[in-house]
Amino acid sequence: MIARWFHRRGWSDMVIGLPYLWLLIFFLIPFLIVVGMSFATRTSTAPPFGFGGENPLINLTGYARLFTDTLYIRAFVTSLTNAAGAMVLCLLIGYPMALGLTRVDRGWRNILLMLVILPFWTSFLLRVYAWMGLMGSNSWFNKLLTGAWNWLVPQAWDVANVPLMHTNFAVVLVMVYTYLPFMILPLYANLERLDPTLDEAAMDLGSRPFAVFRDVTLPQSIPGIIAGGMLVFIPAAGELVIPTLVGDSSAPMIGRVISDEFSSARDWPMASAVAVALLILMVGPMMIYARFDARAQARERAE
């Protein structure tokens, strides 16, 4: 009886059901708690929020402040521009790398793919500290850059050192470094599946190599670009560690704001409102990605 149940629907139901159960317990329920908290009122009790009683049941001040307080608006703008910058740079660096990976022979390809994911073998924090060491004013790297700058430009523009640390540039640089594999891998998976005879067909029909890339390779790699772009953009927009360590503390990113509201300011409802707003901002791009993915899969099934 049980054996038969397992044979028929049981296994597939369980295999499909388990991840959903996981998401329900560890994602959806906590998220609903956060949404609930975002409508609460800050109190000096523990936990530091409350509903009802002397407070309103639904308090919208948190959301109102999102649109009025420039701290939040600036944080969102900084987050989105930094994440967009990192995404575009990752694409510009990652696309040629992914394309190159598809053009080398099999033996080399596996070695190069290994190198792409090699940075994950060291602690992320350690790698960010390494960047801090490189970018700091007294590092050999900064001295080298400063020397080169002072040698290239007129004397009036000379600097004591190149300001790298605690800038948005540093944040974008380290984010590009950190998230580059997330751009390369989906792009590579996409480009690797493309039929090389299509390139030959385009060439045969009169297209020079650049036109072949523009007309054939690029349009077919859009699902890969979108997947890679989302995988970089979404975590980059909510990034906390990188801007905290190398960023400009006067222009914080949204992750830093959420963290500060929760811990030092102990304003949980406000922190929750910011988190919900960030999620809503991210849902848009994720839906675009899901739509492209569904369409690509439908096409594959038809073939």
Binding site: D195, T197, L198, E200, A201, A202, M203, D204, L205, G206, S207, R208, D215, V216, P219, Q220, R299, A302, E303
Partner: protein, 363 residues
């Protein structure tokens, strides 16, 4: 005689130590359908790719319309290719696929659209113009590929196994369609195929290739009836081949065939001398099967060892007293009931054939 459209002069191609094409020279006339026929790995596709410009010859030269192609990249050659996989652009509609090559022509967009319509009409795909390749059938995709390759009016169209991906019924139909399109457009076709029937029906001329070498070039009938080697005879259709020695040359040539245990008369040909070893070859359909003894020089007596009934014809394997097996192909012209076949298992039969049908192969 006019200058050939394609002249291949002593072309060789090596991939590392492997020599895919060995010193091939061919001339292909304007307006003909020319087939490169051979098994897999014979170099036919490599030769085609060299014509398209995807591979450069290691040695030798290729001229198209009198121009040396050595320094001409694929995108500048007056040659288009229909790929075996069709290589349609999956993200473009049928219309866009067909019009793709026209983007590089200096023509107005109205002219371009008119040309696309004309091509859609030629391959009868007008109702499918706005579909994507994955939304049409295999046969339709094949026609899109053909229309795309013909749209820019190439001087030469290369077709790589054009019918291989189609099922049998569709293949026959498409064969005739290809021929009629070729006739209407007047474009020279070079077809690569491993299918001898396809090559025979489509082509004006065939080049039979083996291990990178062209073994024989000629009209289908000439290559079939007068193969110059055992390989070609075997590759195009089937053949009975036996080792033989020339024993006398007169009005006819007499060869002694030990495997048959007797001599055979063949039509006189040049290039053989008494005592020379040759291969005596005979097509199965050139042999007549009799149930009663017949008189004549080229008669063999034997017993039916095996038979295969195909409906319109039958294949018999006849065992001779010497132990040799001879294949005979006979058309089932008379409508026989089951118990009165032309011949049955273990029947004693007599085989006869003309001296003119006997091939003497020295290679």
């Amino acid at each position: 005689m006019s200058e050939a459209l394609v002249r291949i002069e002593g072309v060789s191609k090596s991939f590392g130590a492997f020599q895919a094409v060995k010193n091939v020279s061919l001339e292909i006339e304007k307006g003909e359908i020319f087939s490169l026929l051979g098994g897999s790995g014979c170099g036919k596709t490599t030769l085609l790719r060299m014509l398209a410009g995807f591979e450069a010859p290691t040695q030798g030269r290729i001229f198209i319309d009198g121009v040396d192609m050595a320094a001409v990249p694929p995108w500048e050659r007056p040659v288009h290719m229909m790929f075996q996989s069709y290589a349609l652009f999956p993200h473009m509609t049928v219309e866009k696929n067909i019009g793709y090559g026209l983007k590089h022509e200096a023509m107005s967009s109205a002219d371009r659209a008119a040309r696309v319509r004309e091509m859609l009409d030629l391959v009868q795909l007008t109702p499918f113009a706005t579909r994507k390749p994955h939304q049409i059938s295999g046969g339709q995709r094949q026609r899109v590929a053909l229309a795309r390759a013909l749209a820019r009016q190439p001087k030469l169209l290369l077709l790589d196994e054009p019918l291989a991906a189609l099922d049998k019924k569709l293949r026959e139909h498409t064969q005739f369609e290809l021929m009629s399109i070729q006739e209407r457009t007047g474009v020279t076709f070079i077809v690569v195929t491993h299918d001898q029937e396809e090559a025979m029906t489509l082509s004006d001329r065939i080049a039979v290739m083996d291990q990178g070498v062209v073994r024989q070039v000629g009209r289908p009938g000439a290559v079939y009836e007068f193969p110059n080697s055992k390989f070609v005879a075997n590759f195009l259709g089937s053949i009975n081949a036996f080792e033989a020695t020339v024993s006398a040359i007169g009005a006819q040539i007499t060869v002694d065939v030990p495997a048959l245990g007797q001599t055979v008369q063949a039509r006189a040909v040049g290039g053989v001398s008494v005592g020379q070893s040759v291969t005596m070859a005979l097509r199965p359909e050139k042999i007549t099967i009799h149930r009663t003894p017949v008189e004549g020089a080229n008669v063999l007596a034997g017993e039916i060892k095996d038979l295969a009934y195909f409906g319109k014809d039958s294949l018999y394997r006849v065992a001779l007293p010497s132990g040799a097996l001879v294949s005979v192909h006979a058309v089932n012209a008379a409508r026989a009931s089951d118990d009165e076949r032309l011949a049955d298992w273990y029947d004693k039969v007599w085989l006869s054939f003309d001296a003119a049908s006997v091939l003497l192969l020295t290679d």
